[in-house]
Symmetry: C2
């Protein structure tokens, strides 16, 4: 048992953009395990856009991150001590232990991970919460059929990349929206999207129109704002919109939907969702995703920051779109 | 057989607000009936907000109104000549004969109306298309349960008044939004809504918040813009939005949805619909509405303009909210 470990707490709530001052690194004492408890050394932390919402005190679907508490977040790691019969030292586990080198769990929210076919880090991405968000929104909301045109924003990201590949496997025409030529090239050449529009190129509406000659039947929205409006402008009748994220709207910016009229004219159905509220699908979804990853039918990419101290900067970069694929923090080498 | 009849055609497309110059009255010759045809004298014309959309050449769900053609619209009247075995002279029928004193139909879109329990004019309102829009959106989209709070905009109108009364019969708390104190008083005292907010009073968001102490579970939207945003601001988790109309957005005004973030945070489902695309529900819906009207469980109100020449002005008034309840034009005295 180590005597101490390091963690990062939220030191203050952001006013506008997140800054380094909103975080504080602390060294805390390890306490002895109680009966039933497990000590886990975190190998990877997950950084996700939803964390920005939690840092605000505004009403949200999730409880606010508390001041001076460990930043919440998904983790994968290895059991280093256990007083729980189900978890053995050395086993790989996923949990919600937050931005910390180690964590103690009563085991309720831990699950064992099989790393024989799937790398440990992928359980925070393509076969974890982001992958499930893609799987749920695509399968339970978009109802896309072969031949439909599907638009996915943040197309190179942890969620969007999976949505697009699921849609390709379904036989849809898939058009991504991503920030920058390099991401767009990756989305088309590596992930197999039919096209990808660079929203930084300055002609989003026109470029998306050119990439969707038969209109748009389904939108998987991770960004909001101009991305969503550009996709709405191309909708066919009865198109569906799965609203998964609005990363453009962090930092308190208003994010009006300009083309509200099209929701009526094109008889659209739009649904916002939070994947953690649909746990009944997780077993099925994660099994399907794991099989697709193991057989290389779904590819993924990671951006890995090194060491706990790098987490705040990596998180700020994620909110700016500096990451390329799933943003992780690696804690052990 | 009369030798001529009068009609109103669209003389030009509106640029911005509709004006009298967009219409032209014409006298046309009556032609002999072909085999299978029916001549109907219109007793009432229906005026409806959707007609504004048709007058525009912009893409819409319905074909554009053609220049120099009779303004399209629902009608009720009486058969005055028939070469169709199914329709007899003297029978009351509903149809889509447009802004005209008379019309010839091949019978396909005519239906016989039973005026023994329901007044003829009601077939253009509470037991016609507006009533069905209310019935469909309320029953097939809002999924409101007893105890839910339902917000209805244009609450005194042909659609909103029916939505609110259906919701009251379901045991919901019903809060209307209407323009002016007189309409609000009617909505509460005559229609039995729990509350009604006057959007002209200048405190829409605050007044609606006060009227919805337990938040909002379902929104039936006829107006859009500030009305929709005020209701979205009060939504509880998993609230539903039936988007039936956006009358605030005619005349080319942008109608942004300001509170787009709430669509995600509160996991809302929003669906735009056009009731004429759901004919499979009409028989059931109209039977239910007719029974409720005949037993006085649903009340309705009409604003009746007199004579064909009054139709353009009445239509412009409708778009400004000058009507009170269903706007009709009465053609025979």
């Amino acid at each position: 048992m180590p005597k101490t470990f390091r963690r990062i707490v939220m030191a203050s709530r952001p006013r506008g953009p997140v800054t380094a001052e909103n975080f504080r690194m602390e060294t805390v004492d390890m306490r002895p395990l109680d009966d039933g408890e497990v000590l886990v050394r975190n190998h990877y932390l997950s950084l996700d856009p939803y964390m920005r919402g939690r840092m605000s005190s505004a009403k949200s679907y999730a409880a606010s991150q508390q001041l001076d508490h460990t930043m919440i977040g998904g983790t994968v790691g290895q059991v280093v001590a256990s007083r729980n019969d189900y978890f053995k030292v050395g086993e790989f586990v996923g949990g919600m232990l937050g931005w910390a080198e180690m964590g103690v769990s009563d085991g309720v929210l831990l699950r064992k991970l099989d790393t024989t076919r799937i790398p440990l880090s992928a359980y925070l991405g393509v076969v974890g919460m982001p992958g499930m968000a893609a799987w749920y929104g695509f399968n339970q909301i978009l109802e896309a059929a072969a031949g439909d045109t599907v638009v996915v924003s943040a197309a190179s990201g942890a969620v969007g990349s999976v949505v697009g590949q699921l849609a390709r496997l379904r036989g849809c025409r898939v058009v991504g929206i991503a920030g920058g030529a390099e991401k767009c090239e990756y989305v088309v050449k590596q992930l197999g999207f039919d096209a990808c529009v660079d929203h930084k190129a300055g002609n989003l509406e026109a470029d998306l129109a050119a990439a969707t000659p038969e209109g748009v039947d389904a939108i998987f929205e991770n960004v909001g704002g101009a991305c969503l409006d550009a996709a709405l402008a191309r909708t066919n009748a009865y198109a569906r919109v799965a609203l998964c994220g609005l990363i453009a709207g962090f930092d308190g910016k208003e994010l009006p939907i300009k083309h509200s009229r099209l929701l009526l004219l094109n008889r659209l159905t739009l649904r916002g969702f939070i994947v953690t509220e649909h746990m009944e699908f997780w077993q099925q979804g994660l099994q399907e995703l794991a099989a697709l990853v193991a057989s290389h039918q779904i590819k993924y990419r990671e951006t890995v920051a090194e060491g706990l101290a790098a987490a705040p900067q990596a998180f700020m970069g994620l909110l700016q779109g500096h990451n390329f694929g799933k943003q992780l923090v690696k804690l052990i080498s």
